[in-house]
Symmetry: C2
Protein backbone atom coordinates (compact mmCIF):
# COMPACT_ATOMS: atom_id res chain seq x y z
CA UNK A 1 0.00 0.00 0.00
CA UNK A 2 1.95 2.95 -1.23
CA UNK A 3 -0.41 4.86 -3.48
CA UNK A 4 -2.77 7.58 -2.38
CA UNK A 5 -5.78 5.67 -3.71
CA UNK A 6 -5.04 2.75 -1.41
CA UNK A 7 -4.80 4.94 1.66
CA UNK A 8 -8.10 6.63 0.87
CA UNK A 9 -9.81 3.31 0.32
CA UNK A 10 -8.40 2.07 3.60
CA UNK A 11 -9.87 5.06 5.41
CA UNK A 12 -13.23 4.57 3.75
CA UNK A 13 -13.26 0.91 4.78
CA UNK A 14 -12.42 1.74 8.38
CA UNK A 15 -15.13 4.37 8.54
CA UNK A 16 -17.63 1.96 6.99
CA UNK A 17 -16.60 -0.68 9.51
CA UNK A 18 -17.24 1.67 12.42
CA UNK A 19 -20.62 2.66 10.99
CA UNK A 20 -21.62 -0.94 10.42
CA UNK A 21 -20.68 -1.97 13.94
CA UNK A 22 -22.60 0.85 15.51
CA UNK A 23 -25.63 0.27 13.29
CA UNK A 24 -25.79 -3.51 13.20
CA UNK A 25 -23.56 -4.68 15.98
CA UNK A 26 -20.50 -6.84 15.72
CA UNK A 27 -22.34 -9.91 14.53
CA UNK A 28 -24.37 -7.96 11.99
CA UNK A 29 -21.23 -6.58 10.41
CA UNK A 30 -20.16 -8.59 7.37
CA UNK A 31 -17.53 -8.11 4.70
CA UNK A 32 -20.34 -7.63 2.24
CA UNK A 33 -22.03 -4.78 4.13
CA UNK A 34 -18.72 -3.13 4.95
CA UNK A 35 -17.72 -3.25 1.29
CA UNK A 36 -21.08 -1.96 0.11
CA UNK A 37 -20.96 0.89 2.59
CA UNK A 38 -17.41 1.74 1.54
CA UNK A 39 -18.13 1.40 -2.18
CA UNK A 40 -15.54 -1.31 -2.61
CA UNK A 41 -15.45 -4.96 -3.59
CA UNK A 42 -14.21 -7.82 -1.39
CA UNK A 43 -11.03 -8.14 -3.41
CA UNK A 44 -10.05 -4.60 -2.49
CA UNK A 45 -10.88 -5.20 1.13
CA UNK A 46 -8.55 -8.19 1.24
CA UNK A 47 -5.88 -6.31 -0.62
CA UNK A 48 -5.75 -3.85 2.28
CA UNK A 49 -6.62 -6.00 5.31
CA UNK A 50 -5.63 -9.52 6.20
CA UNK A 51 -8.94 -10.41 7.76
CA UNK A 52 -12.25 -9.09 8.96
CA UNK A 53 -10.96 -9.26 12.52
CA UNK A 54 -7.95 -7.12 11.74
CA UNK A 55 -10.12 -4.43 10.16
CA UNK A 56 -12.48 -4.43 13.12
CA UNK A 57 -9.63 -4.25 15.58
CA UNK A 58 -8.14 -1.31 13.72
CA UNK A 59 -11.46 0.47 13.38
CA UNK A 60 -12.30 -0.01 17.02
CA UNK A 61 -9.04 1.45 18.23
CA UNK A 62 -10.43 4.79 17.13
CA UNK A 63 -13.58 4.27 19.11
CA UNK A 64 -11.67 3.30 22.22
CA UNK A 65 -9.26 6.18 21.98
CA UNK A 66 -12.14 8.57 21.44
CA UNK A 67 -13.39 7.76 24.95
CA UNK A 68 -10.50 9.75 26.34
CA UNK A 69 -10.50 13.48 26.68
CA UNK A 70 -7.78 15.46 24.99
CA UNK A 71 -4.51 13.83 26.05
CA UNK A 72 -2.89 17.27 25.96
CA UNK A 73 -4.57 18.05 29.25
CA UNK A 74 -3.23 14.94 30.90
CA UNK A 75 -1.94 15.77 34.33
CA UNK A 76 -4.00 18.95 34.61
CA UNK A 77 -7.65 17.98 34.33
CA UNK A 78 -10.03 17.91 37.25
CA UNK A 79 -12.46 15.07 37.92
CA UNK A 80 -15.17 17.35 36.63
CA UNK A 81 -13.26 17.84 33.38
CA UNK A 82 -12.96 14.10 32.95
CA UNK A 83 -16.62 13.49 33.62
CA UNK A 84 -17.60 16.26 31.24
CA UNK A 85 -15.40 14.84 28.52
CA UNK A 86 -16.99 11.47 29.09
CA UNK A 87 -20.51 12.89 28.89
CA UNK A 88 -19.69 14.82 25.76
CA UNK A 89 -18.28 11.70 24.15
CA UNK A 90 -21.29 9.55 25.00
CA UNK A 91 -23.79 12.17 23.92
CA UNK A 92 -22.09 13.29 20.75
CA UNK A 93 -20.70 9.95 19.65
CA UNK A 94 -23.40 7.66 20.94
CA UNK A 95 -22.71 5.12 18.25
CA UNK A 96 -19.02 4.89 19.05
CA UNK A 97 -19.80 4.61 22.75
CA UNK A 98 -22.03 1.70 21.87
CA UNK A 99 -19.23 0.11 19.90
CA UNK A 100 -16.98 0.48 22.89
CA UNK A 101 -19.42 -1.26 25.22
CA UNK A 102 -20.17 -3.95 22.69
CA UNK A 103 -16.54 -4.66 22.10
CA UNK A 104 -15.85 -4.70 25.80
CA UNK A 105 -18.54 -7.28 26.43
CA UNK A 106 -17.78 -9.39 23.40
CA UNK A 107 -14.09 -9.24 24.22
CA UNK A 108 -14.64 -10.92 27.57
CA UNK A 109 -14.70 -14.33 25.97
CA UNK A 110 -14.00 -14.15 22.29
CA UNK A 111 -10.73 -12.44 21.79
CA UNK A 112 -7.80 -12.22 24.22
CA UNK A 113 -6.36 -9.52 21.97
CA UNK A 114 -9.44 -7.35 22.40
CA UNK A 115 -9.75 -8.14 26.09
CA UNK A 116 -6.21 -6.98 26.64
CA UNK A 117 -6.79 -3.80 24.71
CA UNK A 118 -9.98 -2.99 26.58
CA UNK A 119 -8.47 -3.73 29.99
CA UNK A 120 -5.36 -1.70 29.28
CA UNK A 121 -7.48 1.20 28.22
CA UNK A 122 -9.64 0.82 31.29
CA UNK A 123 -6.59 0.91 33.53
CA UNK A 124 -5.37 4.04 31.77
CA UNK A 125 -8.66 5.74 32.46
CA UNK A 126 -8.68 4.65 36.08
CA UNK A 127 -5.17 6.04 36.47
CA UNK A 128 -6.19 9.38 35.05
CA UNK A 129 -9.26 9.57 37.27
CA UNK A 130 -7.17 8.55 40.28
CA UNK A 131 -4.67 11.31 39.68
CA UNK A 132 -7.38 13.91 39.23
CA UNK A 133 -9.01 12.77 42.44
CA UNK A 134 -5.74 12.94 44.34
CA UNK A 135 -5.17 16.46 43.04
CA UNK A 136 -8.55 17.44 44.45
CA UNK A 137 -8.26 15.51 47.69
CA UNK A 138 -4.57 15.18 48.50
CA UNK A 139 -5.42 13.83 51.94
CA UNK A 140 -6.70 10.55 50.41
CA UNK A 141 -4.71 7.36 50.54
CA UNK A 142 -3.50 6.47 47.05
CA UNK A 143 -5.15 3.06 47.36
CA UNK A 144 -8.46 4.54 48.40
CA UNK A 145 -8.33 7.04 45.56
CA UNK A 146 -7.68 4.31 43.03
CA UNK A 147 -10.44 2.17 44.46
CA UNK A 148 -12.93 5.01 44.18
CA UNK A 149 -11.76 5.92 40.70
CA UNK A 150 -12.22 2.35 39.59
CA UNK A 151 -15.74 2.30 41.00
CA UNK A 152 -16.52 5.56 39.25
CA UNK A 153 -15.23 4.43 35.87
CA UNK A 154 -17.15 1.15 36.09
CA UNK A 155 -20.29 2.97 37.17
CA UNK A 156 -19.97 5.34 34.22
CA UNK A 157 -19.70 2.35 31.92
CA UNK A 158 -22.92 1.06 33.43
CA UNK A 159 -24.66 4.32 32.56
CA UNK A 160 -23.33 4.10 29.02
CA UNK A 161 -24.46 0.49 28.81
CA UNK A 162 -27.94 1.54 29.76
CA UNK A 163 -27.93 4.31 27.22
CA UNK A 164 -26.95 1.84 24.54
CA UNK A 165 -30.20 -0.01 25.30
CA UNK A 166 -32.41 3.00 25.92
CA UNK A 167 -31.37 5.98 23.82
CA UNK A 168 -33.58 8.34 25.81
CA UNK A 169 -31.51 7.76 28.93
CA UNK A 170 -30.02 11.07 30.07
CA UNK A 171 -26.40 10.26 30.67
CA UNK A 172 -25.28 13.63 31.98
CA UNK A 173 -27.44 13.84 35.10
CA UNK A 174 -26.55 10.33 36.18
CA UNK A 175 -22.87 10.81 35.46
CA UNK A 176 -22.77 13.91 37.62
CA UNK A 177 -24.52 12.14 40.44
CA UNK A 178 -21.98 9.35 40.25
CA UNK A 179 -19.19 11.87 40.70
CA UNK A 180 -20.16 11.77 44.37
CA UNK A 181 -18.91 8.18 44.49
CA UNK A 182 -15.37 9.45 44.29
CA UNK A 183 -15.58 12.75 46.14
CA UNK A 184 -18.12 11.64 48.74
Amino acid sequence: MRYKAGLETRDRILEATRNQISENGLEGTTIKTICESAGVLPGSFYNLFDSKEQAILTAVRTAIDAVDPDPAHEGKDTLEDLINAYIRFVEEQGDLARVYIRIAVAAGQNSPELTGRVLRHHQGRVKRFTEALLREKPELDADVAEFRAEALVSALNGVTLHRSIDASFEVSQYARLLLGVATQ
Copy 2:
Protein backbone atom coordinates in the same frame (compact mmCIF):
# COMPACT_ATOMS: atom_id res chain seq x y z
CA MET B 1 -45.42 -32.16 24.04
CA ARG B 2 -47.20 -34.32 26.54
CA TYR B 3 -44.81 -37.12 27.39
CA LYS B 4 -42.28 -37.07 30.18
CA ALA B 5 -39.39 -37.72 27.81
CA GLY B 6 -40.19 -34.55 25.90
CA LEU B 7 -40.22 -32.39 29.01
CA GLU B 8 -36.89 -33.74 30.16
CA THR B 9 -35.33 -33.13 26.76
CA ARG B 10 -36.72 -29.64 26.79
CA ASP B 11 -35.07 -28.92 30.14
CA ARG B 12 -31.78 -30.33 28.94
CA ILE B 13 -31.90 -28.13 25.87
CA LEU B 14 -32.63 -25.00 27.91
CA GLU B 15 -29.78 -25.73 30.29
CA ALA B 16 -27.45 -26.38 27.38
CA THR B 17 -28.56 -23.11 25.80
CA ARG B 18 -27.76 -21.16 28.95
CA ASN B 19 -24.37 -22.83 29.21
CA GLN B 20 -23.55 -22.14 25.61
CA ILE B 21 -24.49 -18.47 25.89
CA SER B 22 -22.41 -17.93 28.97
CA GLU B 23 -19.46 -19.83 27.52
CA ASN B 24 -19.49 -18.66 23.92
CA GLY B 25 -21.76 -15.66 23.86
CA LEU B 26 -24.90 -15.22 21.84
CA GLU B 27 -23.16 -15.29 18.50
CA GLY B 28 -21.10 -18.35 19.39
CA THR B 29 -24.20 -20.29 20.31
CA THR B 30 -25.41 -22.51 17.46
CA ILE B 31 -28.06 -25.16 17.15
CA LYS B 32 -25.28 -27.65 16.63
CA THR B 33 -23.42 -26.82 19.85
CA ILE B 34 -26.63 -26.61 21.84
CA CYS B 35 -27.70 -30.02 20.55
CA GLU B 36 -24.30 -31.57 21.19
CA SER B 37 -24.24 -30.18 24.71
CA ALA B 38 -27.76 -31.46 25.33
CA GLY B 39 -27.13 -34.85 23.71
CA VAL B 40 -29.86 -34.38 21.17
CA LEU B 41 -30.17 -34.06 17.40
CA PRO B 42 -31.51 -31.03 15.52
CA GLY B 43 -34.72 -32.89 14.71
CA SER B 44 -35.50 -33.15 18.41
CA PHE B 45 -34.63 -29.54 19.00
CA TYR B 46 -37.10 -28.40 16.36
CA ASN B 47 -39.73 -30.76 17.62
CA LEU B 48 -39.66 -28.87 20.94
CA PHE B 49 -38.84 -25.30 19.89
CA ASP B 50 -40.00 -23.27 16.93
CA SER B 51 -36.71 -21.50 16.44
CA LYS B 52 -33.31 -20.81 17.92
CA GLU B 53 -34.53 -17.42 19.04
CA GLN B 54 -37.46 -18.87 20.94
CA ALA B 55 -35.20 -21.27 22.82
CA ILE B 56 -32.79 -18.48 23.70
CA LEU B 57 -35.58 -16.20 24.85
CA THR B 58 -36.95 -18.94 27.06
CA ALA B 59 -33.56 -19.89 28.46
CA VAL B 60 -32.66 -16.29 29.16
CA ARG B 61 -35.78 -15.58 31.14
CA THR B 62 -34.22 -17.69 33.88
CA ALA B 63 -31.07 -15.63 33.84
CA ILE B 64 -32.97 -12.37 34.01
CA ASP B 65 -35.26 -13.51 36.79
CA ALA B 66 -32.32 -14.82 38.76
CA VAL B 67 -30.96 -11.27 39.08
CA ASP B 68 -33.75 -10.50 41.53
CA PRO B 69 -33.64 -11.34 45.20
CA ASP B 70 -36.35 -13.50 46.70
CA PRO B 71 -39.63 -11.93 45.60
CA ALA B 72 -41.14 -13.04 48.90
CA HIS B 73 -39.33 -10.19 50.61
CA GLU B 74 -40.70 -7.62 48.20
CA GLY B 75 -41.86 -4.57 50.11
CA LYS B 76 -39.72 -5.35 53.12
CA ASP B 77 -36.10 -5.39 52.00
CA THR B 78 -33.63 -2.65 52.74
CA LEU B 79 -31.25 -1.19 50.19
CA GLU B 80 -28.53 -3.19 51.85
CA ASP B 81 -30.54 -6.39 51.37
CA LEU B 82 -30.97 -5.63 47.70
CA ILE B 83 -27.29 -4.88 47.20
CA ASN B 84 -26.33 -8.04 49.05
CA ALA B 85 -28.68 -10.12 46.95
CA TYR B 86 -27.14 -8.56 43.87
CA ILE B 87 -23.60 -9.28 45.01
CA ARG B 88 -24.51 -12.83 45.88
CA PHE B 89 -26.06 -13.35 42.47
CA VAL B 90 -23.08 -11.96 40.59
CA GLU B 91 -20.56 -13.89 42.65
CA GLU B 92 -22.37 -17.20 42.79
CA GLN B 93 -23.90 -17.18 39.35
CA GLY B 94 -21.19 -15.38 37.45
CA ASP B 95 -22.10 -17.08 34.22
CA LEU B 96 -25.75 -16.09 34.43
CA ALA B 97 -24.76 -12.53 35.27
CA ARG B 98 -22.64 -12.56 32.16
CA VAL B 99 -25.58 -13.83 30.15
CA TYR B 100 -27.65 -10.97 31.51
CA ILE B 101 -25.13 -8.32 30.50
CA ARG B 102 -24.53 -9.94 27.14
CA ILE B 103 -28.21 -10.11 26.42
CA ALA B 104 -28.71 -6.53 27.55
CA VAL B 105 -26.02 -5.27 25.19
CA ALA B 106 -26.96 -7.48 22.27
CA ALA B 107 -30.64 -6.69 22.76
CA GLY B 108 -30.04 -2.99 22.15
CA GLN B 109 -30.13 -3.46 18.41
CA ASN B 110 -30.96 -7.02 17.51
CA SER B 111 -34.21 -7.94 19.08
CA PRO B 112 -37.02 -5.60 20.13
CA GLU B 113 -38.52 -8.51 22.04
CA LEU B 114 -35.37 -8.92 24.12
CA THR B 115 -34.92 -5.17 24.51
CA GLY B 116 -38.42 -4.88 25.89
CA ARG B 117 -37.86 -7.72 28.31
CA VAL B 118 -34.59 -6.27 29.56
CA LEU B 119 -35.99 -2.77 29.97
CA ARG B 120 -39.09 -4.00 31.77
CA HIS B 121 -36.94 -5.97 34.13
CA HIS B 122 -34.68 -2.98 34.67
CA GLN B 123 -37.66 -0.79 35.55
CA GLY B 124 -38.86 -3.40 38.02
CA ARG B 125 -35.50 -3.38 39.73
CA VAL B 126 -35.38 0.40 39.85
CA LYS B 127 -38.83 0.45 41.41
CA ARG B 128 -37.78 -1.99 44.10
CA PHE B 129 -34.62 0.00 44.85
CA THR B 130 -36.63 3.22 44.92
CA GLU B 131 -39.09 1.86 47.44
CA ALA B 132 -36.33 0.54 49.66
CA LEU B 133 -34.60 3.91 49.53
CA LEU B 134 -37.80 5.75 50.41
CA ARG B 135 -38.32 3.44 53.35
CA GLU B 136 -34.88 4.39 54.59
CA LYS B 137 -35.09 8.06 53.77
CA PRO B 138 -38.76 9.02 53.84
CA GLU B 139 -37.83 12.69 53.61
CA LEU B 140 -36.69 12.23 49.98
CA ASP B 141 -38.75 13.40 47.08
CA ALA B 142 -40.12 10.39 45.17
CA ASP B 143 -38.54 11.71 41.98
CA VAL B 144 -35.17 12.16 43.60
CA ALA B 145 -35.33 8.69 45.08
CA GLU B 146 -36.14 7.14 41.72
CA PHE B 147 -33.38 9.10 40.06
CA ARG B 148 -30.84 7.89 42.58
CA ALA B 149 -32.11 4.32 42.38
CA GLU B 150 -31.78 4.38 38.63
CA ALA B 151 -28.21 5.65 38.91
CA LEU B 152 -27.41 2.94 41.44
CA VAL B 153 -28.85 0.12 39.35
CA SER B 154 -27.01 1.31 36.23
CA ALA B 155 -23.80 1.69 38.19
CA LEU B 156 -24.15 -1.85 39.53
CA ASN B 157 -24.58 -3.10 35.98
CA GLY B 158 -21.34 -1.34 35.13
CA VAL B 159 -19.56 -3.24 37.88
CA THR B 160 -21.02 -6.50 36.61
CA LEU B 161 -19.99 -5.58 33.09
CA HIS B 162 -16.45 -5.10 34.24
CA ARG B 163 -16.48 -8.37 36.08
CA SER B 164 -17.63 -10.13 32.93
CA ILE B 165 -14.42 -8.89 31.31
CA ASP B 166 -12.11 -9.31 34.26
CA ALA B 167 -13.13 -12.22 36.46
CA SER B 168 -10.79 -11.13 39.26
CA PHE B 169 -12.76 -7.93 39.76
CA GLU B 170 -14.13 -7.84 43.30
CA VAL B 171 -17.74 -6.93 42.86
CA SER B 172 -18.72 -6.71 46.51
CA GLN B 173 -16.45 -3.86 47.59
CA TYR B 174 -17.38 -1.72 44.65
CA ALA B 175 -21.07 -2.45 44.99
CA ARG B 176 -21.01 -1.37 48.62
CA LEU B 177 -19.19 1.82 47.77
CA LEU B 178 -21.83 2.59 45.14
CA LEU B 179 -24.53 2.27 47.78
CA GLY B 180 -23.44 5.78 48.77
CA VAL B 181 -24.77 7.06 45.46
CA ALA B 182 -28.28 6.54 46.71
CA THR B 183 -27.93 7.26 50.42
CA GLN B 184 -25.37 10.04 50.13
